[in-house]
C-alpha cells in the first residue's frame, strides 16, 4: 500500500471513528462523503447518501427553510453553527449542534464544506435541569413565607423576595433594591453590629428587631443572617431571612394579658372574699342595732346609712367576684339576637342626637348559654363606652352580629374552641380611640380613664369575667382619634336543657319599670320558668290591677327608675288597699332619698342592688312566692 493510500486509510478511520457525524457537501448541495457515525445514526448505508442532494435526504421543505441559507453562508467563507433536531430512526427526536466549515483549495476557492454534527441531547438535558432547578429555587424563594434579602457588605440591597416586600408593605421591588438595609432598622447602628457579629461567626440569629417599613410602621421581626465570603476571604454578600413576628408577639401579649388577668382575678377574688366576711359582720351588727332602736328614730336612720354603705360595698365585691369568675351564675339558653336587639333599643332611647347607631343582626336565631341580665350588661356597657367616646364630636356606633364557623374562629382566639359555631359581635365606634399602652390595660379591674371618683373602673373587667365565664372571648382593637372596635366571641349552644317550670299554678309577677327594654330582657330570662309576667308603667293601670282581686299579682318587682310610678304612689296604693303583696325593690348601689323612704316603709320584702343576676332574681322570686 502506498504511503498516500496508507495516510488516506488512517484519516478515513479517524473520520469514521469520530463520535460526530461528519459529511462533505459540495456546491450543488450534494453529499460527497459521509462517515460511519453518520450512517449508523441514520441507519443507512453509505451508498444511499453519497451522491444524493440534501433536499433528497432531508426533504425539500427542511432544506429550503433551514439548511440552504446556512450552507450558502458557509460558502462565503464563514463557519456557521446552529442547533437543530433530527428524527433519528429508533431514537426519535434528537438535538444536534451543526457546524458547517468551508473547505478551501490551495487557491482559496471554496468548493466544498465540512459538516459536523454533534449530539447535544445530554448537554441540553443537563442545561435544562439546571434551568429548572434555578427556576424552582427562585419560585421557592419568591413564595417563601419568610422574607429573604441579599445585600452587599455595605448594606446595599441586591435582591429581595415577595415576603420581604410584604413585610415592608411595598410593592416596588426596584425601589427597595436601590435602598440600603440600614434605612429600615429602627435602631441606628444595628446593621454595623450585625456585620461585626457575622464576621465572627458567619451565621447568627438576631433576637426581635424592629424594622421601619415603607409605610412608617414598626414591624417586630426575627432576623437571621449568613455571610458569604469571596476567594480572598473578604465578605462578599450577606443573606438575611426576615420573619414578621407581629402575630406571634400579639398572641404572646394576649397570653400574658390573660395570665395577668387571671392572677389579678385570683388576688382580687381573695380580697373580695375577705371583704364579704367583714361586710357580713358589719351588716349583721347593723341589723341587730336597727332592731334594737325605735323605728324612725334619728339613730335608726344612721344605721340605715351603714346598711346602705354595706350594700354599695357588696355591689363592688360582687363585681370583683364576677370579674374573677367566682360568682355562681345561673345560665339559660337564650337568643343572642333578641338580647342584642333589646339592648340596642334601650341605648337608642337615650342617645345624643349627634350619634348614630347602626346595627346589622341576621334573621337566623342563635342561642347562647348565658345569664340574660349579664349579657344585657355586657352589651349595654360596650355600647355606653362607645357612645361616651363619641360624645363630643358625634359619630357612628355600628353593632354587628354574625354567626361564624368555630374552625375559623380558632385562629383568632387564644383558647380552645368549645363550639361548632360562634356568635361574633362587633361594637365599632368612631370615637376617641386609645393608644396601645392603654388598650393593653382596659380589662384590668380598677383601671379607668375617667377622673378619680367617677366610676369604679370595674366595668370592662367585669365584662371580661362574664364573657370568659361563658367560654367566650373579648378582643379589642383601637386607633387613637379613629375609634375602637370590640369583638365578642360567644359559643353558640345547641342542646342545653331549658329550665323546667317549678310552680304548679302559674304565679303572676308584676314588673314595674320605666324601661321596657330591661323588662323584656327579664322576661327572656324568666321564660320557661312557669311565671306569668305583667308589665305596668303607668299609675292608672297599676291601681286597676291591684284593686281587682282576680288580677292582683302574686308578687311585685319594682325598679326604682320607673318615671311614671313613683315610690310614694306604690306605698300609697299598698296602704289604701291594705294589701301585703311581696315586693322586691331593685335599685342602684347609690340610694336616693326616695328609695331609702320606700325601703323603710315596710312594704319591701327584699332589696336587690344593680346589677342583678338572673340567679338573684330567681332566688328573690322563690323566696317571695313561698
Amino acid at each position: 500500500m502506498s504511503s498516500l493510500a496508507k495516510e488516506k486509510d488512517i484519516s478515513d478511520q479517524i473520520i469514521n471513528h469520530s463520535r460526530s457525524m461528519i459529511s462533505i457537501i459540495n456546491r450543488n448541495y450534494v453529499y460527497e462523503k459521509v462517515n460511519a457515525t453518520f450512517c449508523n445514526a441514520h441507519r443507512i448505508v453509505n451508498e444511499s447518501v453519497v451522491g444524493k442532494s440534501l433536499a433528497e435526504v432531508w426533504g425539500n421543505a427542511t432544506f429550503q427553510d433551514i439548511i440552504k441559507s446556512k450552507i450558502d453562508e458557509c460558502f462565503t467563507g464563514k463557519t456557521v453553527r446552529y442547533e437543530a433536531f433530527f428524527h433519528i430512526p429508533e431514537s426519535g427526536k434528537r438535538y444536534f449542534e451543526v457546524v458547517f466549515r468551508p473547505l478551501a483549495l490551495e487557491t482559496g476557492v471554496i468548493t466544498h464544506l465540512l459538516a459536523e454534527t454533534f449530539d447535544i441531547n445530554d448537554l441540553r438535558r443537563s442545561k435544562q435541569a439546571v434551568i429548572d432547578k434555578e427556576e424552582e429555587l427562585r419560585k421557592l424563594e419568591t413564595n417563601l413565607p419568610i422574607g429573604f434579602l441579599r445585600c452587599n457588605p455595605d448594606g446595599k440591597i441586591l435582591q429581595v423576595n415577595k415576603a420581604f416586600l410584604k413585610i415592608l408593605e411595598c410593592q416596588d421591588e426596584v425601589l427597595v433594591k436601590n435602598m440600603n438595609l440600614k434605612n429600615f432598622y429602627s435602631d441606628e447602628g444595628f446593621f454595623e453590629l450585625q456585620y461585626k457579629q457575622l464576621l465572627e461567626c458567619n451565621t447568627k440569629t438576631f433576637g426581635r428587631i424592629y424594622l421601619k417599613n415603607c409605610k412608617g410602621n414598626e414591624i417586630p421581626c426575627r432576623i437571621s443572617g449568613i455571610m458569604a465570603f469571596d476567594e480572598f476571604t473578604n465578605p462578599a454578600f450577606i443573606d438575611f431571612a426576615v420573619e414578621d413576628s407581629s402575630r406571634e408577639l400579639m398572641l404572646e401579649n394576649r397570653l400574658l394579658q390573660a395570665q395577668k388577668l387571671e392572677t389579678v382575678g385570683a388576688l382580687a377574688g381573695g380580697i373580695a372574699h375577705d371583704f364579704n366576711n367583714i361586710l357580713t359582720t358589719i351588716s349583721g351588727y347593723a341589723e341587730m342595732l336597727k332592731d334594737d332602736l325605735p323605728k324612725d328614730s334619728a339613730l335608726s336612720e344612721k344605721v340605715s346609712k351603714i346598711q346602705g354603705a354595706v350594700l354599695k360595698a357588696r355591689s363592688i365585691t360582687n363585681q370583683i367576684l364576677t370579674f374573677s369568675r367566682q360568682v355562681e351564675q345561673e345560665k339559660i339558653q337564650i337568643s343572642i339576637s333578641k338580647v342584642l336587639k333589646e339592648t340596642i333599643g334601650f341605648v337608642k332611647s337615650s342617645i345624643p342626637s349627634n350619634i348614630i347607631v347602626r346595627s346589622h343582626i341576621p334573621k337566623k336565631e342563635a342561642d347562647v348559654f348565658a345569664d340574660p341580665t349579664q349579657l344585657f350588661r355586657v352589651f349595654l356597657n360596650l355600647m355606653t363606652n362607645a357612645i361616651q367616646s363619641m360624645e363630643e364630636k358625634g359619630g357612628t356606633l355600628s353593632v354587628n352580629l354574625a354567626i361564624v364557623d368555630g374552625k375559623l374562629v380558632k385562629h383568632e382566639l387564644s383558647k380552645d374552641i368549645v363550639a361548632d359555631e360562634y356568635a361574633l359581635l362587633t361594637f365599632k365606634d368612631t370615637g376617641k380611640g386609645m393608644n396601645p399602652s392603654l388598650m393593653s390595660r382596659i380589662f384590668e379591674p380598677f383601671f379607668t380613664t375617667r377622673e378619680v371618683g367617677k366610676g369604679t373602673g370595674l366595668g370592662l373587667s367585669v365584662i371580661h369575667g362574664i364573657i370568659t365565664e361563658m367560654e367566650g372571648e373579648i378582643l379589642v382593637s383601637s386607633k387613637k382619634e379613629k375609634g375602637t372596635v370590640f369583638y365578642v366571641y360567644l359559643p353558640i349552644s345547641k342542646d342545653y336543657p331549658v329550665l323546667s317550670a317549678k310552680s304548679e299554678r302559674r304565679k303572676k309577677i308584676l314588673f314595674i319599670t320605666g324601661n321596657k327594654f330591661e323588662s323584656r330582657i327579664l322576661s327572656l330570662a324568666l321564660k320557661n320558668t312557669g311565671y306569668e309576667l305583667i308589665y305596668i308603667s303607668d299609675n292608672q293601670h297599676l291601681i286597676k290591677v291591684m284593686a281587682s282581686i282576680s288580677d292582683r299579682p302574686d308578687m311585685i318587682i319594682y325598679m326604682s327608675d320607673s318615671k311614671q310610678i313613683h315610690q310614694e304612689d306604690l306605698v300609697g296604693i299598698f296602704n289604701k288597699l291594705k294589701i301585703n303583696t311581696p315586693c322586691v325593690l331593685i335599685t342602684d348601689p347609690n340610694l336616693e332619698l326616695s328609695e331609702e323612704k320606700i325601703l323603710n316603709s315596710g312594704i319591701i320584702k327584699q332589696h336587690l342592688i344593680k346589677p342583678v343576676s338572673l340567679k338573684e332574681i330567681r332566688n328573690a322570686i322563690q323566696i317571695s312566692l313561698k
Binding site: A266, G269, G270, I271, A272, H273, D274, F275, N276, N277, I278, L279, T280, T281, I282, S283, G284, Y285, E287, M288, D291, V310, R314, T317, L321, S324, R325, Q326, V327, E328, E469
Partner: protein
C-alpha cells in the same frame, strides 16, 4: 332551745352570728374550722349547723357530708363569700350535697334567722 353549731373561721363574723343567735335564745356551739366541727360534733344537742364553705383544715363541703352522715336529721345552712379557692360553684355544690339552704355573704342576719326558725319549725314572732 334548739342547739345551733356555727362553723366559721372568721372570728368576728362567728362572734356576730353567735350574738345574733343568742339574742333569739338559741343554744350556740362554735367551731373555727371544719376539722374542729367534725371532731367535736355533739349530735344530741345540735339541731342545725351554719357552716362556711371555704375554710382552712377541712372545708365546709366535708362538714356538710360528714355531719349529715353522723346525724341524718340535722339541718344544714351553707354560707360563702366566694373567691379564694378559684372559680367554683361551692354553694350549689353544698346544695347538691344536701344543705337545706344556702346564703352568699354578705346576707341579712334577719333573713338567716327566719330561715333557721323555718327549718326548725319555730313559730315566727317578728
Amino acid at each position: 332551745m334548739p342547739g345551733i353549731l356555727i362553723v366559721e373561721d372568721e372570728n368576728e363574723l362567728r362572734e356576730m352570728l353567735k350574738i345574733s343567735l343568742l339574742r333569739r335564745n338559741f343554744t350556740v356551739l362554735e367551731a373555727a374550722n371544719g376539722k374542729e366541727a367534725i371532731i367535736h360534733f355533739k349530735p344530741s344537742i345540735t339541731d342545725l349547723v351554719v357552716t362556711d364553705i371555704i375554710m382552712p383544715e377541712e372545708d365546709g363541703l366535708k362538714v356538710v357530708m360528714k355531719l349529715r352522715e353522723l346525724k341524718p336529721t340535722l339541718k344544714i345552712i351553707a354560707i360563702s363569700g366566694g373567691g379564694k379557692a378559684g372559680p367554683g360553684n361551692y354553694l350549689s355544690l353544698a346544695n347538691a350535697l344536701g344543705a337545706d339552704a344556702i346564703y352568699s355573704k354578705p346576707f341579712s342576719i334577719n333573713d338567716l334567722i327566719a330561715k333557721i326558725e323555718e327549718l326548725l319549725n319555730i313559730e315566727q314572732n317578728t
